[in-house]
Assembly symmetry: C2
Homo-oligomer: 306 residues x 2
């Protein structure tokens, strides 16, 4: 029987660390690091994510600014705004909240961000540097996972890991960051056969597919460490009662809200694994804190502090 | 008992295909695609590689030009030359033969090449696009391998593959290109434990480490396809007599030259595998032909032909 590995301690540690750093940077440079978040449209989830980023940034003493556009904004207006931000010395980091309205080319927008201010780490120059194993701004969720694993003193070198999912935002960058840690990695995806057998051999499993509860207890080697990157809302009452029979609070929450959040991993995996990150309370909060860490990094690089 | 998979047929096919294409491009555009190879220093192997590229380019009707510098050339002079080439509309592709003299930063030089002319596919913008799964100029050896596998009608989707070696030039880009083909991939390296067990499960093995003969017969599943990317010169007479006891020509060659070329795979692997690419005569020639293919591609993109 393993335990759930919450990220709360790590987040508190990082918040304190960043607050102290930002205080000292303010004193040295006369201003705090500054993040701008661009939001186009009125997607409710996006608005909520943007607010979470803004709130945490301010909480640790960073300057944060949300630039909101109507969902009908055209590509050119957005590109002009990004160009303005690229040339504004008082802004250190900028991200564009995804998804963008359908008529806008995501890659065109991302590629227009100055690589030095690309704190989401999505610009091809930053991905290319990650590819070559060089220092760069790395994507926040996978970098947050690596930092969290290190904070927990897990030994990674020579260990086997399976990454399930090959997105540009999680699976692929996570692959490179874990490869830098000298893990032996397998990347699995929708076309993979015998996923169960592949997982069963792994010291670490990283599930980042977006399929609720797909990793079952019999996929996991005894004592494995399982990192659940998925966040899915489910509302199937029968399924919820079955999966969360040991977690009465979860069932209460379902009765109140009509849905619960779950990862890609069945929570009963904790019985076989050594550690399983819970959803919520595991990987989720790592992304935002790492975004702020990246913003402090760009600030330090600009002022040649390290 | 499998067979050796030579690349000669494929190379002849590609040479013919590119010759015809270049002829037609010449007629349409008034000039042939043009490649410039920069060589700094007097490394004998480099000089020989550069000549092979130049000769094959000319053979298929391409314009080819070698720019030679003294080994003492400074970084600035090299950067000025590359800038000149970047701005020269009559040059479509440029590569810098590696290794460069030690006092020169390889990445600085590579990063100065215009991504549109980077026919080696080493610029971070091209690697970043490869990362995102987009069209770009891809590194020649791995792209040549993919094209060769397709030419041989091997089915890749859902198959398991092990890549041994994680270089920026072969292992990592090969990983991405095979991932695009929907293979389930494991990447192994010097810190990997139980390499034998990992290989034993794979439908495809790609050996790209540079360790002569390290993949033995008992590493390979019956019927696997083994692609040997290594090129190593060995001169241990006892070892050569042992390994090549079934290949009298190889032993003759050793007696004449004092060394023989061998891959990372023991040739006796062919007894278990379905196919094994020989060294020489397998992967080697794929690199140069793919470089020329990339040069034609840049020419076509510039003139918006496709």
């Amino acid at each position: 029987m393993g335990v759930f590995l919450y990220s709360k301690d790590y987040i508190n540690f990082k918040k304190k660390e960043l607050s102290i750093k930002i205080d000292s940077l303010k004193q040295k440079q006369g201003r705090a690091p500054s993040l701008t978040v661009i939001l186009a449209g009125d997607n409710r989830a996006s608005l909520s994510y943007v607010r979470i980023k803004d709130k945490l940034a301010k909480e640790i003493g960073m300057k944060s600014n949300i630039v909101k556009f109507d969902k009908d904004i055209n590509e050119k207006e957005l590109l002009i705004k990004i160009d303005e931000i690229n040339n504004d010395d008082a802004i250190d980091g900028v991200i564009v909240q995804l998804p963008l309205p359908e008529h806008i080319s995501v890659n065109k927008i991302i590629d227009s961000i100055s690589p030095d201010k690309d704190v989401d780490g999505f610009h091809p120059i930053n991905l290319g540097k990650l590819f070559r194993g060089e220092d760069a701004l790395y994507p926040c969720t996978p970098l947050g996972i690596i930092n969290f694993l290190k904070y927990n003193n897990f030994s990674l070198e020579g260990k086997t890991g399976v990454i399930i999912g090959r997105s540009n935002i999680v699976g692929k960058p996570l692959f490179f960051l874990l490869l830098k840690e000298n893990m032996t990695l397998t990347i699995a995806h929708s076309k993979t056969k015998n996923l169960k057998d592949i997982c069963k051999n792994a010291d670490f499993i990283f599930a980042a597919v977006g399929k609720p509860l797909m990793i079952e207890q019999d996929y996991v080697k005894k004592g494995a460490i399982v990192i659940d990157v998925g966040v899915n809302a489910i509302n199937d009452e029968k399924l919820i009662n079955e999966v969360f029979s040991d977690y009465p609070k979860k069932i209460e929450r379902f009765k109140k809200r009509g849905y619960v959040l779950t990862g890609d991993v069945n929570p009963n995996v904790v019985k076989t694994a050594k550690y399983l990150t819970p959803v919520p309370g595991g990987v989720g909060p790592l992304t935002v804190i790492t975004l702020l860490e990246n913003t402090v990094k760009t600030f330090e690089q600009k002022h040649e502090i390290s």
